[in-house]
């Protein structure tokens, strides 16, 4: 099978969906002429013209507000917010408008929009360009939250997100754009709300999201060398969460490590732990381990930043902890 980068897989999804459906249009800062700060929207302007590939002013609230109104009136906007940190500027549009309209108006309107954005740390972008804010959106009923970790998932999930009739927060990771992986030629979709078992194992389950999936797979290699077979699950969609796939794995392994790049407190790891302990209490042989970012704004200095965000070694130690293999 051919290999594509995460960036090119997303770009291909946009080309395909805009060709398929004239209601789909793209808007955001630098998405047209420049092709997007991460080049995900490259080539769209030439093919689809400026009305469907709209370069906007630096106005995040305006971008998302425009997307909501367009979605309510028959279009399917894909708005790019350059960094998820900047989505804070558009919070009213996302949380009070997009997420609420369908329910609040008694099901009479739909808001089929996608907010494409990227988050995550690890490249020295400091406190306002490195956050993992996915849980802000997971917390809001009415939103769907997707976080693909591979080029294959990125393409199939973006296509599904564009076809979904709900507002979808589609969160990419800034350190995944250059990663490559197999992506088949031709049309395929990945359903929203379905997890993927990225590696099979029967000693411990590791649930990880976004770039942390790559870390978890690396940790699983190390653990295998130590005789521990880890099963790695990528939920791919944080909301709705495919709890059944996670629970099924925990029923097999009896041990769970949850890894997420967001801050520990009030985060994804706590949410999964709470749900799994209720659904699979009798199968658990050890406390659920949480691996998440320290509760600090991310620092610029590399030494400090790498200490703050989860590492492969943190995941190895957590998995060993779940098996009571750590010394002391």
């Amino acid at each position: 099978m051919r290999e594509l980068s995460y960036r090119d897989a997303l770009n291909e999804a946009l080309h395909e969906e805009m060709t398929r459906d004239p209601r789909v249009f793209v808007l955001g800062e630098d998405v047209g002429r420049y092709g997007g700060v991460l080049q995900v929207t490259r080539g769209l302007l030439d093919k689809f013209g400026e009305k469907r590939v709209r370069d906007t002013p630096i106005s995040e609230a305006g971008i998302m507000g425009l997307a909501v109104g367009a979605a309510m009136t028959g279009m399917r906007p894909v708005a790019e917010i350059m960094y998820i940190d900047f989505s804070a500027l558009a919070m009213d549009q996302i949380v009070n408008q997009a997420a609420k309209a369908h329910y609040m108006f008694g099901g009479k309107t739909r808001v089929p929009l996608v907010m494409r954005t990227q988050g995550g740390g690890g490249r020295g972008n400091a406190a306002q360009h490195s956050q993992s804010l996915e849980m802000w959106y997971v917390h809001v009923p009415g939103l769907i939250v997707v976080q693909p970790s591979t080029p294959y998932d990125a393409k199939g999930l973006l296509k599904s997100a564009i076809r979904d009739d709900n507002p979808v927060i589609f969160i990419e990771h800034k350190l995944l754009y250059n990663t490559a992986g197999p992506v088949p030629e031709g049309e395929y979709l990945i359903p929203i709300g379905v997890a993927d078992v990225k590696r099979l194992g029967n000693h411990v389950t590791i649930v990880a999201t976004s770039r942390m999936v790559l870390f978890a797979l690396e940790a699983a290699e190390t653990l295998a060398e130590q005789g521990i077979q880890a099963e790695v699950i990528d939920p791919r969609t944080l909301k709705p969460l495919d709890l059944a796939t996670i629970v099924q794995s925990v029923e097999k392994t009896g041990r769970l490590v949850v890894v997420n790049e967001g801050a520990l407190t009030g985060g994804f790891t706590a949410e999964v732990a709470a749900r799994v302990q209720r659904a699979a209490f009798d199968w658990l042989d050890a406390p659920i381990m949480q691996v998440a970012t320290e509760d600090v704004p991310l620092p610029y200095n590399g030494r400090l930043e790498f200490e703050a965000i989860p590492s492969v070694q943190d995941i190895v130690l957590a998995a060993r902890g779940a098996l009571y293999w750590n010394a002391g």
Binding site: R52, A67, G106
Partner: protein, 321 residues
């Protein structure tokens, strides 16, 4: 003026419909029949009715927390509205929205909005959508002088002017921003001066003169429909009641509202005088229209009260499409 006699009749009836709807809303709220909070637009009827008279059925409006008038002016059904205020399944939102969230997509009503300025962004998006689809639809975005200070207006207004979108930003300067006079919070001398910063024409109109509002909006709508771009229109009016029903109004002199309630300033009285004095209507015609409006609202209340409340299962319905 190019309004037919039937249209004039409809506009006059609609103004009373709004007046009586809000009177009923206030009475129901004071009688503990409504939950949460309710805002009335008494005294501002001419802005809503005059503006919507210049629109096609498929044109869009976005409304505000003070939105009963906009909805009725655009053709909203008083029964479904009253049922919604009463939280019944027959309401516009099946009882899940209430006073601040009435929408009717079939009539182009993209929703009242509980966030001050909340409709501004999505109105601009609807205009962008109309332009993309080449539908010829125009958007009227209602908001108040309080909302004119929200940042979204700067962002959306700039976009609308950049892309010459078919939208009218209609600022109802009712002189109050929630529980304060708005004047001390607006730095420019006249609100329409803000239009210059957005890069679009800024006009002003007597918001208590229905026909003046109609003419001003009609001009802006025609221009927008022809691809001439957005307009910022300020309609001067007065919020006769408080921010919410039950507001003690400690922040303004009592005589002020009395002045605006007088027949010289009241928008319904003013329109009525023109109908009789210049347009050949009889006082008796107007009186029967007023009574019809009263009866329509009484019917809406009865309909709402007779309607069932939602089943508990409705709690989980329509979270996702």
């Amino acid at each position: 003026m190019n309004l037919s006699r039937d249209q004039l009749v409809d506009l006059y009836h609609r103004m009373w419909l709004i007046r009586y709807f809000d009177e009923a809303a206030r009475a129901l709220f004071m009688g503990n029949m409504l939950r949460g909070t309710t805002h009335t637009c008494t005294g501002q009827e001419a802005v809503a009715v005059g503006a919507c008279a210049a629109l096609r059925r498929d044109d869009y409006i976005t409304s505000t927390h003070r939105g009963h008038g906009h909805c009725l002016a655009k053709g909203g059904d008083p029964r479904a509205m009253m049922a919604e205020l009463l939280g019944r399944v027959t309401g516009y939102c099946k009882g899940k929205g209430g006073s601040m969230h009435i929408a009717d997509l079939d009539l182009g009503i993209l929703g009242a909005n509980g966030i001050v300025g909340g409709g501004i962004g999505l109105a601009t998006g609807a205009a962008y959508s109309a332009d993309l689809r080449g539908s010829g639809q125009v958007v009227v975005c209602f908001f108040g002088d309080g909302a004119s200070n929200q940042g979204i207006l700067m962002e959306a207004g700039n976009m609308a002017a950049l892309w010459q979108l078919p939208i009218i930003y209609l600022c109802e300067q009712n002189q109050y921003a929630e529980f304060s006079p708005s004047r001390p919070f607006i730095a420019v001398e006249r609100l329409e001066m803000k239009a210059q910063a957005f890069g679009m024409p800024g006009l002003t109109v007597d918001g208590n003169d229905l026909l003046a509002v109609y003419q001003a909006v009609r001009g802006a709508v025609e221009r927008a429909r022809a691809g001439g771009g957005p307009t910022f229109l300020v309609a001067h009016t007065y919020r006769i009641e408080g921010h919410t029903v039950g507001d003690p109004l400690t922040y303004r002199p009592k005589e002020e509202a009395a002045l605006w309630k007088s027949p010289e300033r009241d928008p319904i009285s003013r329109f009525g005088r023109r109908l009789v004095g210049e347009l050949g209507f009889a006082e008796a015609d107007l009186e029967s229209l007023r009574q019809k409006a009263r009866a329509d609202i009484d019917d809406a209340i009865a309909f709402g009260k007779a309607s069932p409340e939602p089943e508990i299962a409705a709690l989980w319905e329509d979270v996702y499409a």
